[in-house]
């Protein structure tokens, strides 16, 4: 979009100020994230750019915070917890979210909009409110599980957080899968049935491959939601379920160690990788949809 020769002064002014505004928005969004990356290579134990770093002296940089992260037991336990809780919560969210989206996409289901609104509410209700509700709900459920089935407190703790995180992730899956289903041609399932495929085969061979991009992007959002989540974990988890965000939160409060910055940098890298995957999947989905006849 270049400026045409007949542009008036007002249009010229707007043309350049539009660019400046966009640049500012971009800077405000990105700089707070970028600034932690060089800081995480800080050779000192403080949150500041030292004179050595500003001179780009190799002496001012080190990997010691990363080393700290990978050797410290507390951080490693948190990392392990995060990698236990997030994937299981994601799988649950994907399974239930996909089923809900498929069910709600069928026109004969009564009260579809109301049900949809309820299922999506965890995304809209302020997290602190959901967390408060979850605290009471899951402590009652935890007590029940411990008393009735004699499960260990530790195990029940994981179940509680996984279920809570799955509930937070389901709305993302529902939204992405519903969006994919809008373009889904239902005569394909009829065609499959007509050719002798039972509903289960039809689902896995025909419907699933076509809505897979939506399912995977929903899954990624659900994963990030669980992986980044701190409020609910603090409310309903116990010390043995400490996750990475929780550890970072307490780290910030109790000991301001640049290890947090190293962890943050690692998380930023993971997020970028995941978002790239989402984008690639979206392109694949667009290609497939452009390919569908009619």
């Amino acid at each position: 979009m270049s400026l045409p020769a007949y542009a008036s002064t007002g249009q010229r002014v707007w043309y350049y100020s539009f660019r400046v505004i966009c640049g500012l928005i971009f800077a405000f969004l990105i700089i707070p994230i970028l600034v932690i990356i060089p800081l995480s290579f800080n050779a000192t134990d403080f949150f500041t750019f030292t004179p050595e770093m500003l001179r780009l002296d190799p002496e001012g940089y080190s990997l010691k915070h990363y080393e700290d992260f990978f050797t410290d037991d507390g951080w490693q336990a948190a990392l392990r917890n995060s990698f236990i809780i997030a994937p299981i919560a994601t799988i649950l969210a994907v399974v239930f979210g996909t089923l809900a989206a498929i069910g709600l996409s069928q026109s004969h289901v009564p009260f579809r909009r109301a049900i949809m609104a309820i299922l999506i509410s965890p995304m809209i209700v302020p997290l602190i409110i959901s967390a408060t509700g979850m605290f009471f709900f899951y402590s009652a459920m935890g007590n029940f599980l411990e008393d009735t089935f004699g499960l260990s407190q530790d195990f029940v703790g994981y179940i509680k957080i996984i279920l809570a995180h799955a509930a937070l992730g389901i709305p993302f899956v529902i939204i992405t899968v519903t969006a994919t289903l809008v373009g889904f041609d239902h005569s394909l399932t009829r065609a499959a049935a007509n050719m002798g495929a039972n509903p289960v085969t039809t689902f896995f061979k025909v419907q699933m491959p076509l809505i897979l991009p939506g399912v995977i992007s929903g899954g990624l959002f659900a994963f990030i939601t669980s992986f980044d989540e701190v409020v609910v974990v603090i409310f309903i988890g116990s010390a043995s379920q400490q996750t990475l965000p929780w550890q970072m939160f307490t780290g910030l409060r109790e000991q301001i160690s640049p290890t947090i910055l190293a962890v943050a940098t690692i998380l930023v890298v993971i997020s970028i990788l995941l978002l790239t995957t989402v984008e690639l999947l979206r392109r694949r989905s667009e290609r497939l949809r452009g390919m569908s006849p009619g």
Binding site: D185, S187, L188, R190, A191, A192, A193, N194, M195, G196, A197, N198, P199, T201, T202, K205, V206, P209, L210, L288, R289, G290, M291, S292, P293, G294
Partner: protein, 385 residues
Amino acid sequence: MTDCAVAHMNERDKRGRYLSDMTANDGFVTFDRVQKSYDGENLVVKDLNLSIGKGEFLTMLGPSGSGKTTCLMMLAGFESATHGEIKLDGVSINNIPPHKRGIGMVFQNYALFPHMTVAENLAFPLEVRKMGKDEREAKVKRALDMVQMGAFGGRRPAQLSGGQQQRIALARALVFDAELVLMDEPLGALDKQLREHMQFEIKHLHEQLGITVVYVTHDQGEALTMSDRVAVFNDGRIQQLAPPEDLYERPENSFVAQFIGENNTLGGRIEKIEGDVAEVRLHSGELISAFPVNVTQPGEETTISIRPERVEIDHTRLPADAHLIDAEVLEWIYMGDIFRTRLRVAGNDQFVIKSRNSGDQRKLKPGEKIKIGWAPMDARALDAS
């Protein structure tokens, strides 16, 4: 394909043609007093009785909303009949789910799986039948060759043109040797030339394979070209069920006469009926003779239906007893193979005649007064609706 299977197919072929020649039916597919309502109040299909013979090519023809597609969907199992029974080969299929009916179908938008190649699309019905890989590949190849698409097995549907996708959809409906194949306006999305070409191809495939075909369309030309019998649907009922020739030459009511082909109508009242001839007084005063179809009483209101190509300007070609009637030329159009003349006849200024471009025809000028006539047998006195 084994020799045995070939022999089996040939036998079916003969039997199919034999039966369709006789337009007899042993009731391979029967609808017995079938009704369908979506909302519990309005019947979309009202009391349908239809028996389709093995090897027959039956077309359900009708305007949109006439219930023809609903009938096809009930046969495929995607809709259930509100009342009545549908039988396939003597067995009631009301309670059999679509995937156990073993009926092939070509969908209006083809419904090819976009994430599979053409060969995978065709192999799908064979895979769900747990067929071995070698047999599967042989059948897919044979089906693709049948529709002249043998070289396209590795492509995806989106890389094919509309006509090619249509062929693949056809091959996919035939690949698993279904004895009954349903087609839901399969040629609707193609351009005219391709559509006409595919009509003949489908017709030939039907003759070769001896399968039973139930074809739904709103295009009467398609129905007349392809079918053994045509069921004309309107308002949830079959208006007439007859071979194409009967349908065009001998429509049984004014809906069928209007719907099939071009048709001139004149309103009048029956004066008297004597055997095969009815004297009709037109509303404009002229007296003509016509063939009574579904009128019985003198004094009854009637609509006379005359095909444009049966009206004669050349009086020497008319039988002696033909009435002549005054006409004024309003428009004369040269259409290449025929001339189309619009006349005002008995107050109707949409009266059209078609005359063959035979070399000795003269050009009629607007405003010219002529006399036209027709054989009494070609003027059909139908209900007045």
